[in-house]
Subunit: 694 residues, 2 copies
Amino acid sequence: MRTRAAGSPGAAESLAVGGVAPDGDGWFVMGNESFVGLASRVRAVCASSCQLDQPARRGGYHSSVSQERDLATWRELGQQLRVDAIRSSSAAGSGHPTSSMSAADLMAVLLAGHLRYDFSRPEDPRNDHLIFSKGHASPLLYAMYVAAGAIEDAEMLTFRKVGSRLEGHPTPILPWVDVATGSLGQGLPIGVGVALAGKRLDQVSFRVWVLCGDSEMAEGSMWEAMEHAAHAGLDNLTAIIDVNRLGQTGETMHGWDLDAYVRRAQVAGWHAIAINGHDVAEIDAAYADAAAISQRPTMIVARTEKGHGVAAVTNQNGAHGKPLADPEAAIAELGGISRIRVAVAPPDGPLPEPRPEPEVVRLPAYEVGTTEATRRAYGDALAAVGSARRDVVALDGEVSNSTYAEIFREAHPDRYFEMYIAEQQLVAAAVGLQVRGYRPFASTFAAFLSRAYDFIRMAAVSRANLSLVGSHAGVSIGEDGPSQMALEDIAMMRAVHGSTVLYPSDANQTASLVAQMPDREGIVFLRTTREKLPILYEPGETFPIGGARVVRSSPQDEVTLVGAGITLHQALAAAERLAGEGIAARVVDLYSVKPVDDATLRESAAATGRLITVEDHWPEGGLGDAVLDVFAGDVHPPQVVKLAVRAMPGSATPSQQLALAGIDADAIVAAARDLVGAARGPGGVATGQEASVT
Amino acid sequence: MRTRAAGSPGAAESLAVGGVAPDGDGWFVMGNESFVGLASRVRAVCASSCQLDQPARRGGYHSSVSQERDLATWRELGQQLRVDAIRSSSAAGSGHPTSSMSAADLMAVLLAGHLRYDFSRPEDPRNDHLIFSKGHASPLLYAMYVAAGAIEDAEMLTFRKVGSRLEGHPTPILPWVDVATGSLGQGLPIGVGVALAGKRLDQVSFRVWVLCGDSEMAEGSMWEAMEHAAHAGLDNLTAIIDVNRLGQTGETMHGWDLDAYVRRAQVAGWHAIAINGHDVAEIDAAYADAAAISQRPTMIVARTEKGHGVAAVTNQNGAHGKPLADPEAAIAELGGISRIRVAVAPPDGPLPEPRPEPEVVRLPAYEVGTTEATRRAYGDALAAVGSARRDVVALDGEVSNSTYAEIFREAHPDRYFEMYIAEQQLVAAAVGLQVRGYRPFASTFAAFLSRAYDFIRMAAVSRANLSLVGSHAGVSIGEDGPSQMALEDIAMMRAVHGSTVLYPSDANQTASLVAQMPDREGIVFLRTTREKLPILYEPGETFPIGGARVVRSSPQDEVTLVGAGITLHQALAAAERLAGEGIAARVVDLYSVKPVDDATLRESAAATGRLITVEDHWPEGGLGDAVLDVFAGDVHPPQVVKLAVRAMPGSATPSQQLALAGIDADAIVAAARDLVGAARGPGGVATGQEASVT
């Protein structure tokens, strides 16, 4: 691992960084030499503004004078960050200044003394990663950007205003933000994913710094992250816990009991240090300590005061999440507005090897007429895609022999991540891995992805690109019963912004879709089936995302049966039986539930006049609703009958389950018979628009 | 707290329990005295079957002979439980015998020596609670029921068959099962809720025993439970960790490192003991120890072998979740089929005070024409309902000053539970509290209920009755940005089996709904709004769940605007403006999104010919889809235009957000104008069915 001991060559280089502010906005430029002895007067000198070089710590302490200089600068910078957090939240009329003020010294020392980040090249793979797990401290983050010269003071004051990049909680609209935060307890588990990328895949020596609130330590996801980070030996990860004692409504469970956090971190296998979070020397030493530790992540447990520096709000309950009552007095109390600019040390060291170009994917092939489970095809196809593309990685929640992620694991053990039974960490790690440009596939039973729904929701806010794969969909899993059945997963995943929802019916189709998934933007969900299903399609056929396939049709069709996954096969069986009764039924394979193939559905509706949707899912939010939505807004929408699971299932065989749920061929035949019978009218003659095609 | 020391009067009483098996099925009845010295031969004696009294531990050890007798019996019983787990899973052709076998000795000693439970009176409030957090060990649970005489051997062999109560994972279809399990990591947090009911509310001395798997200890929810149980001093809670080392695919993170679990429990504040989980004396001592500890929960960390007792599967990877290959040989290896019946000790002590009858609820009243936020009305109303009903309790995830649960907390501090920022534990505790007949209301930001979606899904499988309240719905929260906005909550909650989804538009309506919620079966979700909204309805009006309210109508209506919450007010403003343009619009308040008022929607559709739905939610699975679903199946469904949030929001004021999302009055006016214009045709004359009413 990389250490950042004083006097290292990389650190010394940073002394050369500096110069006139490129925007020529009149900031006072200050060389490193001229700075000696000036620290105590910096606020006065900076009455207009000034720019400071990177403090000298990375160059080594030449004297107690330079050390004192650093400490004084950091203190000044901490005050500036507080002032700016107050200014931006006051300008906005909302926000979290007090939660920013508690962590200001922690971030001042990080920014000026330890972070390695080139703000002009956020895409540099060697850059450190700074994640505000306590996303509500966004005023502090934006104040850091001002101090680093990444944004102007004027932009900072657009905080929370319409059209501003500086949202109430950070999002990756800002090029320096990796992931959206604001739902507590997510930044650290995502940081684990970023750190895994650095340590296991990139082998680049960036560090991941995660600023956490103490309130969010109550989230179980933080514990999942602590367990996993220690298990993976992530010495490139540092969690900084801002223990300001106060949550939104009152004291946290552990208050200022720093040792409570230290002991928890230690028992999980972390290196843990308790410090005074307002003592810049202690903070500096803790960061240096974190960088020197190997094989273990470090947790810095910092005792701080919420609202530190302004007596009216310091350590006061009831001051959460609101601007200060008297910002001007507060700013004066903090020493006034200052314009310290930090030349943040850029990363050093060699760039990682460029990833090899993708090769041609050789997908598995399944013979038409045989049977295979789509979950198995997923595993086969993912392993094949992984052979062609080095950016594809897989994670699983300790069920890889059910999801068949194990096939990828066996083929590409270096790119497989066992996340154990911790679905929040599973999804969070995938989000972290995609921060570094990987294309993760995270799999578990589809039912258990519901455990990570908040992470999935937030991944969409993060504009993350990742694939989620849920096996064991629906009642057709059989005997295991409802706890293992995903019956709400399509609803849940459709309601994720910008998501893609795929539900293949056949193994070759699955393979075609899996090959497309890594290049798809947003959250892509693949729903796989436990049971083996007949192979319908030839190997090598392409099934574009957003498409649908008409698998049976004739000019005489009087009804369209729309299915996907296991229900498509029931629809096909039903169509065959209906044909024997003199009813021609079209069958559509709606393998892409979102986006849905409007054209094919409209064509079928126009041709057959009515549709029956069949889904192994609750009636709400699934395939049937996706079809209804196509015609929402039409002046004359077609008749759409939804067959779905309506009663709580118990245990039974897969075929019994389908029958009991009313989504098997029998139920489809009965529904189609009723529908077509009614349409034909009492004389048995078809009526309505489909009459023209019979 | 209750202790169960040897020689306690309650324990002695249990010696008198026994007698002929009530079903007269020929089981051999054995008195306590005749049992002395028989233990080593019990299997032979029980070649047909026999019934054993409660072993003597509760009556005190009179001699080493009686102690030896207990130990031998427990060992025999453990073998029987293994044999029966093998038999039931073999009969089913699926299931988890090896995961049952590891915990068989733990459960034998519990059933015969420590559990206090009257299987004939599962509703007895003094009964202990036994929760299988590792629900896949259901064959073991059902074998225990056979041993306890609760079910017959023949029923046990219906395991996993269609129509059987003995599902693949336990559900409360069985009267002795409190909650469904099978999604790992849920039993312990729910057990925390049951223990909270016992300790803080009922003040009854039942104990809660939770059998956990070691794999599920990786779930963050288990950590939330550990933290909360210790914080609440739940000495009536005992977690038994079956450390069989092997998960589904391989070794757990901690393997057989018992100390890893012990240290984690201790650091969380638990009493923790490591034992050999196949040594019945150690198990017995551990349970006695757990009962003797006060102010702290106890974790018994038991080293076990998966598949213990059958060499072919003992401690073997790859033997998870499947019947044994040679069950007959395995049964022989375990000593053959036996029929030990345990007279489980019933609970003792006084019954708790009956809960007082509900009084008349005096709901808060808000004056028409003023404004109030529905979230505030929720707090006011819940406090009022709490004054009338002692069974109503409230929990919040450390945001009670945002959800206004704080009003209940101030009024009824004894029935308020602060769950900190741990939404899984928040919902799990509510599930546990309703096990004991309480009517919990659990609140947080609606967005963060997504953190607990798996728990909500499983609560429906548990047939739980509880209320969830989500505040800060939609983009209209304003500046905080998307991380805090619930935009998928209606979709998520509609897709819960048997759920109710309420979305009030007015404070008096909110109060009316809150008063109905405790008596509603299933999962009831109330979506509240951050912003103050005009009061539309008179205090005291009733708004039945499942209803809708036509708030504006005329015989000339050409379009129906359907809204709820904040969008209803936008729809009303739009209708007013449309009237100025010569377009009469009906407005429907769809405050009950599920169940939805079919009749009112059909009436409106018939009268006005077309509908516009407006929702502060993504387009998928929300209010618009609920309306579309009403007409699904109709031969001629009406035109339904959905206005919903379609782009990822940022920060902005509430009214800017509504405008940007296209769900404000302007957008509604524009949509209605287009729709009615198109319907009227080029001549501006209305066409279609609504022509008759103009």
